[in-house]
Symmetry: C2
Subunit: 98 residues, 2 copies
């Protein structure tokens, strides 16, 4: 069977996701989130970005559907939004980390 080349719409959609992934600290945050939910504070400590920056990263990734969050009183715990995102991170890990 012949390979299917993606449509322009698909390329727009996927490249939009990649654009959000394509930032060193957002990517690092997502790698951590693959391990499980983390609070903003935890993620701030795990990266070397400021609290404001991390909150903005998470806000953008949430707006674009890469992560979701659940409030636990003062804490806001973020996690990977869906399996496609998890699969991208895992695929990148497999390709570059072995």
């Amino acid at each position: 069977m012949a390979k299917k080349i993606p449509t322009k719409d698909q390329c727009f959609y996927v490249s939009g996701l990649l654009k959000t992934l394509a930032h060193p600290q957002r990517l690092l945050i997502l790698c951590h989130l693959v391990e499980g939910p983390r609070s903003v504070n935890e993620l701030t400590e795990l990266t070397d970005a400021s609290q404001s920056a991390v909150s903005q990263f998470l806000g953008r990734m949430k707006a674009e559907g890469l992560v979701k969050s659940e409030r636990d009183n003062q804490f806001n715990n973020y996690e990977i939004a869906n399996d496609q995102i998890k699969q991208i991170i895992q695929a990148l890990d497999k390709i570059f980390n072995q």
Copy 2:
């Protein structure tokens, strides 16, 4: 065994690659190149970008090591530079195209 979180250096490197991938027409070009080498003209016809834009896309992707090119007289045939790049495209295809 515990999962390995990438180092900052790895995140910089991979996010740099992703940044170059994260463009609808560059991504489409790469999807075509997975099928085999293509000339600049062919790629210009397969996308709806101008010849100048396609040449610039290819130039950037070549500079960043995503593609390589081989001149065949007047033609310049581009292809995927290495297996890691091919694997990224194929992984994305698997995740989003099925």
